[in-house]
Amino acid sequence: MPSWFTRTAVACAALFIAALVFVALAPYEKDMGLVQKIFYFHTPSAWMFLTAGVVCGISSARYLANHSPKLDRLAWASAELLVLFGAIALVTGPLWARKTWGVWWQWDVRLTSSLLGWMIGVAYLLVRRYAGPGSDKLAAGLALFGMANVPFIYISVNYWRTIHPPTSVVPKLPLSFGVPFYLSVTAFTLLFVMLLRLRVHLEEQRARVDSLYLSLDE
């Protein structure tokens, strides 16, 4: 384990516990009641999902240009986090929607684009796992095309109606909702950064072991 890990993990756990306490103490929203509290986890994980997508797309595009293995490792690590946080967002979203909209799923612009983005992330991992030699480039191409897809999904589905709460809700949060929300966002961000660094570190170690084996053979 790298030296920074224990400290970061403790800080992250403390933040999550604090977030839980504050979420439990936060008042009930008057229309939605208890289900509204899922937002304290849904929105931060959706934000991390988007961040992971942006990191993966940009590092893949740069990897195709200069073939630096560092960027490839970063892209891989963020693709895994994209699938992880995307799964959290895609599970917690319908749980809330069932209570509030009365249906589990709507073909709304955000839901559709998140689902397709998540599927591209899963495809990325499948390629990395099963395509054998050359999978790094294949995956980078997939991430690049996936990124180019986003505006199209947005335009095409935006033409349909949307019922997802807009992002403009977040800055207008009153203090009693805002404190637990931003605490939760901080906890999720720290978890994201920690997992990303840990995953990149693991791949670096693996690459080092590989190169040591190779030098042993020579």
Binding site: Y130, G132, L144, A148
Partner: protein
């Protein structure tokens, strides 16, 4: 040799092989027909097709048979290492990509010439009321699907488990094309056609084609080249 000449040579090569063996054309056509029939068995109840079902069935059939054709086209190039020979030839990489793309478009257009009447027949869809718009939607949509497909099928030639991975890669990336194609075709099949809506979907499909072909031409070279180890 100019780029256009290279493209033409590659298209002619693929079409010559195809007219002599007919392997991919016949199997793809048969598969496309089976696909539409399967949907007809599943969805048509007591002679009544589902409302607006035709557009969806048409595009799913294009997607499935396109996937099959893509896989087979590049499998043939792999078997005797002819793709490597093609890449070794003193021809520009973008020209090779465009040649393969056009060959595939020819194949898929042939399949669609059969699919459209078949869907119109089984799903009672008035496909031929606006032939110009329908052609535009179908060709633009197929181009979007094939432009992504050609790039990834070419890259997958050297990968393990390529048969499984092609749809895994291709479907999530081309869902927006299929979505726009289905919506555009559905808009065209309404009794009162909203031309502004149809034009919107056609524009979306064409801009999709432009972005994806540009991106594919730009990355084909670096994606298909092995760097020295």
């Amino acid at each position: 040799m100019s780029v256009l000449q290279t493209i033409w040579l590659i298209v002619r090569k693929d079409l010559t092989i195809e007219t002599r063996s007919g392997e991919i054309a016949f199997t793809t056509l048969f598969f496309a027909i089976s696909c539409v029939l399967a949907f007809a068995f599943a969805l048509v109840r007591e002679g009544k097709p589902p409302e607006d079902g035709g557009a969806g069935v048409l595009w799913i059939a294009i997607m499935f048979s396109g996937n099959l054709a893509l896989g087979r086209t590049f499998e043939r190039e792999r078997q005797s290492e002819t793709l490597r020979a093609l890449l070794l030839a003193p021809a520009s990489r973008p020209a090779i990509y465009l040649g393969k793309l056009l060959g595939l478009m020819a194949l898929l257009t042939a399949a669609e010439l059969l699919l459209v009447p078949l869907v119109a027949y089984f799903f009672q869809a008035p496909m031929f009321r606006h032939p110009f718009w329908l052609t535009l939607i179908v060709v633009a949509g197929t181009m979007g699907f094939a432009s992504v497909g050609t790039l990834f099928a070419a890259m997958l030639v050297r990968a393990r488990s390529r048969d499984m991975l092609l749809p895994v890669l291709l479907y999530p990336l081309t869902f927006p094309v299929i979505m726009a194609g289905v919506r555009g075709t559905t808009a065209l099949l309404q009794p009162e056609v909203d031309y502004a809506l149809v034009r919107f979907w056609v524009q979306l499909l064409i801009s999709f084609d432009a972005v994806f072909i540009t991106l594919a031409l730009w990355t084909f070279e670096s994606l298909m080249t092995d760097e020295p180890r």
